[in-house]
């Protein structure tokens, strides 16, 4: 239970950072929708889990927030990437790529099993 949540939390943070980098300042609902769409509906999670993750990133100083007005004139809290967040995104993205690459090699059908 705890492990799954951790993995999810870790990847979720990366997704949030990436989303903010791609789309610029965005509110929580927008981030949630974007992640869902990008994942091609493979990830079906509660939007609610996003908010503690946003708070954590903000406490760590990777994102900042401020109240603004949405397209259809609604008040919403907008999150945006900080400089530390940009750096963190690069670092994590690199790590993630490395990890997937290594795993991909492992999982590639039986080259080294001789």
């Amino acid at each position: 239970m705890g492990d799954k949540a951790d993995v999810w939390q870790g990847t979720l943070a990366l997704m949030v950072l990436k989303t903010l980098q791609a789309l610029g300042p965005l509110h929580g609902y927008g981030i949630a929708r974007r992640i869902e769409q990008t994942s091609g509906d493979l990830l079906a999670v509660n939007y609610g889990t996003l908010y503690p993750a946003l708070l954590k990133l903000e406490q760590e100083g990777y994102i900042s927030s401020e109240w603004g007005t949405s397209d259809n004139n609604r008040k919403a809290k907008y999150y945006k990437l900080t400089r530390a967040g940009r750096k963190q995104l690069e670092k994590e993205a690199r790590q993630w790529e490395q990890t997937t690459e290594i795993l991909a090699r492992f999982l590639a059908p039986g080259k080294e099993s001789t």
């Binding site: 509110h27 929580g28 509660n46 939007y47 889990t49 908010y51 406490q59 760590e60 008040k75 919403a76």
Partner: protein
């Protein structure tokens, strides 16, 4: 870094909660609206759109709750909540809170105080940098080293950064000012480097300045610099005469530096080639700094090896020689300081245990009146762990509040200790000037508070949370009695309290009695009419015994003719001192001893003929010394009764011949001409030692005490006595001039302190135990009020009720005494080796103390029981 930042943010999240809550609500609100709008756009009905948005969010309240957990620190928040709640609960029952607080304050306070003492005496008695890397190298248990052995160790020791030597001796200062006596130390040139200190003014000794002929310089202590030179920097370069020789001041040490304890000045240790080659006499104290990375064990192994090598090469002197490497702190501590400090630590530990038991009992009592509260909390969903945590938090909170009060109490205790101690003793007692409440003591206090809070709280918390909520609610409104298990536990606590109190109070009584006996025994010498003074004749000026004798003759003549003086005498040591005695081996003619270690031994005293009469030491047989015992006449000696009985049991010692020293030594045979009563010279020996007295005409010593018996107050003669000695030799001033009763008080004051402290601890424990038993009894009676009412209504006699009510208390005391008495006797046996006059068979103490305790316990049990028989049956029944 990031983690820290997040932690700070979360800590901040604990505050301004209202605003944060509003913001969270607004954010959720805007999220839902946007989602609902999107859903509406896809053609859902309004209700369905809202429902779907909620589902997708995963529940509004749950999301908010998760968010809050991340926002603050949930653990800390519950704790704060518990503390807030605990504070409210404590305020609601001020009686309970005050009693518990006071008990804990006393229990924790004495622990803090004694911890501070122990820290000052045993951990950091010296203000030296990196004290824990400093060691002393000794011969055997704690003897100094022989000079040649020291130099061998210095050249061969690999584990040591520096090895240095010193020799402490008293010195006579003369020169521009009034002559005075100073604590001096002759030190090797690398002494200060080894200790890691340097003068604040001027310089330390250089290599080569500890050679004869180059050594006429000295370093002043801050104290002496102030006293003699008014803290004038121009003191550098000035000349001071020490024992008649001129020395130039080259440096001043920092105020905090006092090593060896005590020291007024340091001069170089200039050993002649002959002295350097000496392997026979253990005359040098050796200190060393361990190299970085070198352990005490490694250093010890190295010195053990050296000892073996030296034993092989120099079998005559170094046979069986063993060196010991010990922490310097251990080396400087007083011979009995450690034992007494540990005794005190044990005693305050016991006091704390009793205090905790008492507070635990109070909490048991309170827990039963809180049953309905706990039951309601449980019914509302608090699990057992949560309840236990709540109660423990309260208990720890209580302990911390107690600790704050305890710190004040500790400060008061230390103030008492320090302010009443004679300054003379403070100087000689390593670490006494370092007593204070420092950060270590503060940490210790907090730790003690935490532990006692848990100790006192854990059982009550477990016991009271065990009951089922339904039971608590059902019983809550009625006056039913407590569960059986809880009551038993509570009785066990009180029993333990009384038993422990018994042990401690008996120990305290033994100690106090021992101290009173000791000080009482001084009366035999009527010390309030004796003035004592010390003199020390430098060997350089008085090389020949005749010269010393001439000085003493003139001094005694001058002193005995002072107005108000009845007689004057010279002697080596006064009764009930604690500076150690001059201990040595002797031989008996006709009974050759195989070697030194199998030789008989005794304390050696050199006295003038008037001494026995002046000090009221009775002559039991034979004759005293007279003026006819001269240098040229037959060498004679007096022996104490103990010595006579030990070596000539059943026959007379008179007429036998003895010789001072080992079997290989030569020296005159002394004829025993008289037997004196026993005198306890060093009270730390606990019993008088066998003693040999020699006449000062036949063995005049360089250092001696002089005494004057006066008709009036001896203090009034102090000045005249001083100038009388100064008139004979201005360069050998009298020192430690004081009435004998003052000197004895100063030598025994440490024991008196321990006695007083133990007495206070005993009283505290007694009071706490009595409060404890009273509390339990009062509660039991209160609980059974309606039962008693029914019984009375049914015709029970008052006597029966009294018995019913007090039976429990009697049972508790009986069990407590059955456990406590054997424990008290056993601990008294342990203490007997430590405490003067404490005998495990001291019937008076063992009869009186338990009786007092028993009476106190009986009263504590009886008072509530009496309340039981006054119960009005009507009121009691209506109460239900």
């Amino acid at each position: 870094m990031r983690r820290l930042r997040a932690l700070v943010a979360r800590l901040a999240g604990l505050f301004r909660k209202d605003r944060r809550e509003r913001e969270l609500a607004a954010e959720m609100e805007s999220h839902l609206r946007m989602h609902i709008e999107d859903n509406l756009r896809t053609g859902m009905s309004a209700t369905e759109a809202r429902r779907q948005a909620m589902i997708k969010l995963g529940g509004l309240e749950q999301t908010k709750e998760n968010y809050r957990d991340r926002r603050g620190l949930p653990l800390l928040e519950t704790l704060l909540q518990d503390v807030r709640y605990g504070t409210r609960m404590l305020r609601k029952s001020p009686g309970f809170t005050m009693t518990a607080l006071l008990t804990l304050a006393l229990g924790i306070g004495v622990n803090t105080a004694v911890f501070s003492l122990a820290e000052a005496f045993l951990v950091r008695p010296l203000a030296l940098p990196n004290l824990h890397r400093l060691v002393a190298i000794t011969t055997g248990q704690k003897s100094p080293m022989a000079a040649a052995d020291y130099f061998d160790g210095k050249t061969q020791g690999q584990s040591f950064e520096e090895i240095a030597a010193y020799r402490a001796s008293d010195m006579n200062l003369t020169g521009s000012d009034e002559p005075e006596r100073a604590y001096g130390a002759a030190v090797s040139a690398d002494f200060f480097a080894a200790l890691g200190i340097a003068p604040v003014l001027g310089r330390a000794f250089l290599r080569g300045e500890d050679e004869p002929g180059h050594d006429q310089m000295l370093i002043l202590s801050h104290r002496l610099w102030q006293r003699r030179f008014g803290a004038d920097p121009a003191a550098l370069g000035k000349t001071v005469n020490i024992d008649g020789k001129p020395y130039t001041v080259i440096g001043v040490m920092d105020r905090s530096v006092e090593f060896p304890v005590p020291t007024d000045l340091w001069i170089p240790l200039a050993l002649s080639p002959k002295e350097k080659a000496d392997r026979a006499v253990n005359s040098l104290h050796v200190v060393a700094r361990l190299k970085d990375g070198a352990s005490l064990t490694a250093a010890q192994a190295e010195m053990t090896l050296l000892g073996r090598q030296l034993a092989d090469v120099y079998p005559n002197t170094d046979k069986d020689r063993q060196f010991r490497v010990m922490p310097l702190v251990e080396y400087v501590e007083g011979s009995i300081t450690r034992a007494y400090t540990i005794l005190m630590l044990a005693a305050v530990g016991i006091v704390l245990l009793v205090a905790c038991a008492n507070v635990a009992n109070l909490q048991f009592t309170r827990a039963s009146s809180r049953r309905s509260e706990l039951a309601i909390r449980e019914a509302l969903g608090a699990d057992r762990a949560r309840l236990v945590r709540q109660m423990l938090t309260e208990s720890v909170l209580l302990a911390f509040l107690g600790a704050v009060a305890g710190l004040l109490f500790a400060k008061f205790c230390l103030w008492l200790c320090v302010s009443k101690m004679p300054p003379y003793v403070v100087r000689l007692w390593a670490g006494f000037d370092k007593i204070r409440l420092d950060s270590g003591a503060l940490l210790f206090t907090m730790a003690v508070a935490l532990v006692s809070g848990i100790l006192a709280g854990v059982l009550p918390a477990l016991a009271s949370s065990k009951q089922k909520a339904t039971e608590g609610l059902r019983e809550g409104g009625r006056g039913a009695t407590t569960g059986r298990g809880t009551r038993r536990l509570r009785s066990a606590f009180v029993t333990a309290q009384v038993a422990i109190a018994l042990v401690l109070v008996v120990g305290a009584a033994l100690l106090i009695k021992g101290f009173r006996q000791l000080t009482g025994s001084a009366e035999a010498y009527s010390p309030e009419h004796v003035l004592t003074l010390g003199v020390n004749l430098p060997v350089s000026k008085y090389p020949q015994p005749v010269e010393r004798l001439a000085f003493y003759r003139r001094a005694l003549a001058a002193l005995s003719s002072l107005p108000g003086a009845q007689s004057a005498a010279a002697f080596s040591c006064y009764p009930l001192s604690n500076n150690g005695t001059n201990w040595g081996y002797f031989q008996i003619l006709g009974r050759p001893a195989s070697d030194l270690r199998h030789s008989p031994w005794a304390d050696m005293q050199t006295i003038s003929p008037e001494y026995p009469r002046l000090m009221h030491v009775a002559l039991l047989a034979g004759r005293e010394f007279t003026s006819d015992d001269r240098e040229s006449t037959q060498p004679v000696a007096l022996v104490s009764q103990k010595l006579a009985q030990r070596y000539w049991p059943g026959e007379t010692a008179l007429g036998n011949q003895i010789r001072i020293g080992g079997p290989a030594d030569s020296g005159p045979w002394l004829t025993v001409v008289g037997i004196t009563a026993d005198v306890l010279y060093d009270w730390t020996n606990q019993v008088p030692q066998p003693t040999i007295y020699r006449p000062f005409t036949q063995a005049p010593q360089a250092a001696s005490l002089l005494g004057i018996r006066t008709s009036g107050d001896p203090a009034s003669l102090e000045k005249a006595a001083r100038s009388g000695i100064a008139f004979i030799d201005p360069e050998s001033p009298a020192f430690d001039v004081k009435p004998l009763d003052v000197a004895i008080h100063e030598s025994t004051v440490g024991l008196g302190y321990t006695g007083a402290m133990m007495g206070i601890l005993g009283l505290i424990t007694l009071a706490v135990a009595v409060v404890g038993i009273y509390g339990v009894m009062a509660y039991t009676v209160g609980e059974r009020t309606n039962e008693f009412g029914v019984r009375i209504a049914m015709g029970a006699q008052r006597r029966d009720i009294l018995w019913l009510a007090s039976r429990h208390g009697l049972l508790i005391s009986a069990v407590a005494f059955a456990i406590g008495m054997p424990a008290a006797i056993a601990s008294a046996r342990l203490l007997a080796g430590l405490i003067y006059g404490a005998s495990p068979g001291d019937l008076a103490v063992f009869a009186v103390v338990p009786s007092i305790l028993f009476a106190a316990v009986l009263i504590a049990a009886y008072v509530p029981a009496r309340r039981a028989i006054r119960v009005d049956p009507i009121v009691a029944l209506r109460y239900e």
